[in-house]
């Protein structure tokens, strides 16, 4: 029996973490596994960036520049073994996308392939071959070591040694020549820049709908739902879930990255429903993703987006422990608002490649609590803390990068940062100023221990109470307390920064590169490799406005004009019900000051 160290703040959340560990004694080392689902093409973009970032961080860890990670990669990755006994380390991931969206990526991935066996054909009669034009591999991926079988010198077919991120094997990104940043123009699909090998059970293609072209698109919520009603896809998903879940000893839950703007909102809904049915008691955290700005010239697409988003949000909320919309646009509504701005980033909001990179960085930060190596906050717990009294939808915000100036300590920077709304809103809920926060989970990562507390020589008058704190954690907690008194906050402070090596796009403005801390100590002006990030999940009253606004816009909509949306399996009554639920969800977030105080 080994009591776990409680490094978190002394709130209920921190104190409650790790009861399992206390009882299971020796087995406390058990990793609390999370299974990731990526549904949709934009989810694929975000996911690809996220896995790349994690992979790069794994590579750095092996370079031993940092202490053994504060984050436990085993939470999201699994160790496997090919038929040839080669160890693999791949994301515990199921992703769904449409026919034609993979480009040069093979459905089964390269890790477990055997070229010789694959060529065997079970037919002796006439055979015609219909070959699609071979998709060129993105030039940027050319250096990615192919993991396919090669003929080794002793004449046996073997799979080349595969970087597994843990052992002493060379790592993909740790190769001597750094890959160049791919050009924006060369990125059409997410597989164009994915540098992580996937398990053959990861990619599940929906053959029924096309990724490109005019016909056979997955456009409406109802279509998405019906995909997972078909036994063919349902069994496929169940089998894959079974494969990953069965091997988990302490599964803590599922994170679903799901496109909200198209039919995938329906796929996500069905998937979440299945998870809730089959794995009750596990956390289900859903990240509803919306890509960049909409084109007003396509009214139908815009209306569909609105409907899909509303249906997706409401239903996903019903089946998940926590739902967080993620988008860089200013609002969920029909009228486009300018995309959000980051003081130190230049990005093109029309490029999914850029938007997804920013959202991935935010995810990499706000998901920290349930991925910690020591005293993690389980998904169920995190959701519990943020979602009391029905507030299952939360907003995300992040300061990317966190502007830590060299020579200045964390208290200095936080004092300069000032207001509570220091982070850029990432949930398309408009300007958070003037809104109330009910509960929040905050993560600040990438701050060197030397800067955690004030470096002022004794005797100097303290510029703020923050400077009196003795640990970085205290500084952060105190800061949150100052900004938002009466709010239940949980905070985590990590040394590990977010890795932003290519294929992460170069978004950083020159002011950042020149002024701010480049943590790995590389000289100023050189490419930024890792950044500190300040991120938060927050149950905020801004949701009252945006969800209410969504309901209002839907009420105004003449749905008979969009009969084709209803044809796809949604009834008029469902729409009424949806509006009702959307309104009551919005009601949950009404600023209760007038009533309770």
């Amino acid at each position: 029996m080994r009591p776990r160290p409680d490094a978190c703040q002394a709130n209920r959340l921190g104190a409650a973490s790790g009861p399992a560990g206390a009882v299971q004694g020796g087995m406390a080392g058990g990793v609390r596994e999370v299974l990731t689902l990526q549904l949709g093409h934009f989810a694929g973009f975000v996911g690809a960036h996220w896995w790349n970032q994690q992979d790069a961080a794994l590579g750095r860890a092996i370079d031993a520049k940092e202490p053994p990670g504060e984050l436990c990669p085993d939470v999201l990755y699994r160790t496997g073994r090919t038929l040839y006994g080669q160890e693999t380390y791949t994301p515990r991931l199921i992703l769904m996308d449409l026919k034609g969206s993979l480009s040069s990526l093979k459905e089964e991935g390269g890790l477990y392939r055997d070229k010789q066996l694959d060529a065997a054909i079970a037919w002796q009669g006439k055979l015609t071959t219909h070959k699609e034009e071979l998709y060129p591999k993105n030039p940027y991926l050319q250096d990615l070591p192919s993991a396919e079988g090669v003929l080794s010198s002793d004449g046996v077919w073997r799979v080349k040694s595969i970087p597994n991120g843990k052992g002493s094997l060379p790592h993909t990104t740790a190769t001597t020549s750094k890959p160049p940043i791919p050009t924006e123009g060369s990125i059409r699909v997410w597989s164009d820049f994915l540098r992580v090998h996937l398990h053959p059970r990861s990619i599940c293609m929906i053959q029924k709908y096309n990724h490109d072209g005019d016909a056979g698109r997955l456009e409406a919520f109802g279509q998405g739902e019906s995909v997972l009603r078909e036994p063919r896809y349902l069994e496929e998903l169940e089998d894959r879930l079974h494969f990953y879940v069965e091997e988990c000893d302490f599964l803590q839950g599922f994170q679903i990255l799901c496109d909200l703007h198209d039919g995938f909102s329906g796929v996500g809904t069905k998937a979440a429903e299945l998870l809730q049915d089959e794995y009750s008691g596990r956390g289900i955290i859903t990240w509803g993703l919306l890509p960049g700005p909409y084109n007003l010239g396509e009214p139908q697409k815009n209306i569909y987006r609105l409907l899909n988003t509303a249906f997706g949000l409401v239903h996903l909320t019903a089946y998940s422990s926590l739902v967080c919309p993620l988008s860089l646009s200013g609002s969920l509504g029909l009228r486009p608002e300018p995309p959000v701005k980051f003081p130190y980033l230049h990005y093109d909001a029309t490029l999914p490649y850029h938007c997804s990179a920013i959202l991935a960085t935010a995810l990499e930060t706000v998901t920290v609590p349930y991925r910690l190596r020591s005293s993690p906050v389980s998904m169920v717990h995190l959701a519990d803390m943020l979602s009391f009294s029905g507030k299952k939808v939360v907003t995300a915000g992040a300061t990317i990068p966190f502007p830590l100036v060299p020579g200045q300590s964390l208290p200095d920077t936080l004092v300069q940062l000032g207001g509570a709304t220091s982070w850029t809103p990432l949930s398309a809920c408009g300007d958070p100023s003037g809104t109330r926060c009910f509960a929040q989970s905050v993560v600040l990562r990438g701050i060197d221990r030397a800067y955690h507390t004030s470096q002022l020589s004794p005797g100097t008058p303290l510029p703020s109470p923050l400077h009196a704190c003795t640990t970085g954690e205290e500084v952060l907690a105190q800061y949150l307390q100052q900004q938002q008194p009466r709010v239940m906050s949980s905070s985590h402070l990590l040394l590990t920064p977010c890795t932003v090596v290519p294929p992460y796009p170069h978004l950083f403005s020159s002011t950042f590169s020149q002024h701010c801390v480049v943590l790995d100590g590389s000289p100023k002006g050189s490419a930024v490799e890792s950044i500190p990030v300040f991120g938060a999940l927050c149950s905020s009253s801004s949701l009252h406005r945006s969800l209410g606004g969504l309901a209002k816009e839907l009420t105004k909509l003449d749905l008979r004009r969009w009969a084709s949306f209803l044809d796809a399996g949604v009834e008029q009554d469902d729409v009424e019900e949806l509006l009702q639920e959307l309104r009551s969800l919005a009601q949950c977030y009404q600023d209760g000051d007038g009533l309770t105080d």
Binding site: L83, G125, K126, R217, D239, E246, S564, A568
Partner: protein, 531 residues
């Protein structure tokens, strides 16, 4: 000028002859794609995607699903054909061929000035007559294993090579016969298909029991047990609950500890109940004990079970739970209260097989299993998929045969017979509608013609020979595809499903008629939402 042009200048309109030409063109295009598939001598198609993924098929249904069909008419035909497959499990290619041919034959008369409506009338009359003939030629007999083998072989030989077809035929027939229960409809769901990427395709076999694609998760559990009790349950043996809302229940660390212990004990008690039962029955009968749980079992519980010599599998698939109790007997329990020996199933042999990172658990030696497993083997993914598709069709063919209680001779024999009968019937019909009947009869002959063509014979020559023998012998004569000569289909053991043919005649006539009667095609701001 069409009225639609007045309101939408961008609208595209095609009328009368032009509209028909567009539709017939689409139907024939589709026909040309699929015609080489038909029959055991058809051409296998290898589809290679841009990324290099391979798909190997000659199943019309699979091909239609793979193709990105943009033409609305073609897409309509494809939907009808695949719908046929959903219902009966076969006949997609024939469907497409027949629709295309009906339209082609109709076009000959329409181009000479005959109104499509009259052709449609003829088609309708011909269909009714054709169904009568089908009724007459169907062979009603007891569906014993021999005839089912013939039915399955006929179906499977069109999808996979002969050697493999023979292996699959036996497996498929025996699996359906095993799960068949008098008084119940056949539930193909009770035949589990498990794939194993291993060895060659001819190692595919029937397992009279179940194969689960996971194994016991404890190093000390036995990899092989004989003569074992099987307990199937749906009970969580996992410590999980305290996390939910736990924050509200305790104030101090001691209280928390207490709560945690209580919760753990709760799970331990459940595990103990299983152990108690095991101790009791195994002492009595001297057998081994296997637990298969739909919910999770955490390492702690696994440890307890392993110590008592129990083999435990966790997270069995939901759909396997029903199969388990049908295969081994016993009942799946949802609670561990009142466990008795009656809840237990039995298996003669349970063993684990490891393949790379994947494990398989074989549960065999079941007494009279009502659920069985087809274990598909093959060296690569595309072979596995190909076999799975073939098995599905084979299973359907047998199910259809048993449910119909009759079969019809294959190898083009039925089509030849119906065409012959229609030509006689034509003379009883007054007016121009008889032209429609003529067209229908000619169209049906596409099936024997393409069969002959695909086997490398001259289609006309073969057809004439077959028709001659048919007239002479009054027997149902089809084509021997190996020789290109006429043969009596029934003697050669080539049987098709009655319901497939019936469905085929119905749906082809309806669709061909509908397409014929289209006299205007408009495309005006249509949504791309076609599902």
């Amino acid at each position: 000028m069409a009225a639609i042009k007045a309101v939408n200048a961008k609208a595209e309109v095609a009328r009368a002859q032009a509209a028909l030409a567009i539709n017939i063109c689409a139907a024939r295009g589709l026909q040309n794609v699929l015609r080489t598939n038909l029959g055991p001598k058809g051409t296998m198609k290898m589809l290679v995607s841009g990324a290099g993924d391979i798909k190997l098929t000659k199943d019309g249904n699979v091909l239609l699903h793979e193709m990105q069909i943009q033409h609305p008419t073609a897409s309509l035909i494809a939907k009808v054909a695949t719908a046929q497959d959903d219902v009966t499990g076969d006949g997609t290619t024939s469907n497409v061929l027949l629709i295309g041919e009906l339209l082609k034959q109709a076009d000959l008369y329409i181009s000479e000035g005959l109104h499509p409506r009259i052709i449609a009338e003829g088609f309708e009359a011909a269909k009714i007559k054709a169904l009568e003939v089908l009724e007459k030629v169907k062979v009603k007999k007891e569906m014993n294993r021999k005839i089912l083998l013939d039915v399955a072989r006929t179906s499977l030989q069109t999808k996979v090579h002969a050697e493999l077809a023979n292996v699959l035929t036996e497996a498929v027939v025996d699996s359906v016969l095993a799960i068949r229960r008098p008084g119940y409809p056949i539930d193909l769901f009770m035949v589990e298909i498990v794939e194993m990427k291993h060895k060659s395709e001819t190692n595919t076999k029937l397992i009279r029991g179940l194969v689960l694609d996971h194994g016991a998760r404890h190093p000390h559990m036995k990899k092989r047990v004989e003569d074992a009790f099987i307990l199937t349950c749906n009970v969580s043996l996992e410590y999980e609950k305290t996390e939910v809302n736990s924050g509200f229940f305790y104030k101090t660390a001691e209280e928390k500890e207490e709560l945690v212990k209580a919760e753990r004990k709760f799970i331990d008690d459940r595990v103990q109940k299983i152990i108690d039962l095991k101790e009791k029955v195994c002492a009595e009968f001297g057998k081994e004990f296997v637990v298969i749980n739909q919910k999770g079992i955490d390492p702690f519980s696994l440890d307890m079970l392993a110590k008592h010599g129990i083999v435990a599998l966790r997270r069995a698939k939901r759909r396997n739970m029903e199969r388990l109790s049908l295969a081994c007997g016993g009942i799946a329990v949802n609670s561990l209260e009142d466990l008795t020996v009656d809840c237990l199933g039995h298996a003669g042999l349970v063993y684990e097989y490891t393949l790379g990172e994947e494990k398989f658990t074989f549960i065999e030696g079941c007494v009279n299993p009502l659920s069985v497993t087809l274990l598909v083997k093959g060296p690569n993914k595309h072979t596995l998929t190909q076999i799975k598709d073939a098995l599905r069709d084979g299973l359907h063919a047998i199910k259809n045969a048993i449910e119909d209680g009759c079969v019809v001779p294959g190898a083009g024999a039925v089509e030849v017979a119906i065409a012959e009968a229609l030509l006689v019937y034509k003379h009883n019909v007054k007016g121009r509608a008889r032209l429609g009947i003529q067209a229908f009869a000619d169209a049906l002959l596409i099936i024997p013609k393409v069969l002959a063509q695909n086997s490398g014979c001259d289609p006309q020559e073969t057809l004439v020979k077959v028709q001659a023998v048919h007239l002479e012998s009054k027997q149902l004569v089809g084509i021997d595809l190996n020789k290109g000569e006429p043969m009596v289909a029934a003697d050669a053991g080539v049987w098709d499903n009655y319901c497939v043919k019936k469905q085929l005649l119905h749906s082809c006539t309806v669709i061909a008629t509908n397409i014929l009667l289209v006299d205007e095609i408009m495309r005006a701001g249509m949504s791309s939402l076609r599902g």
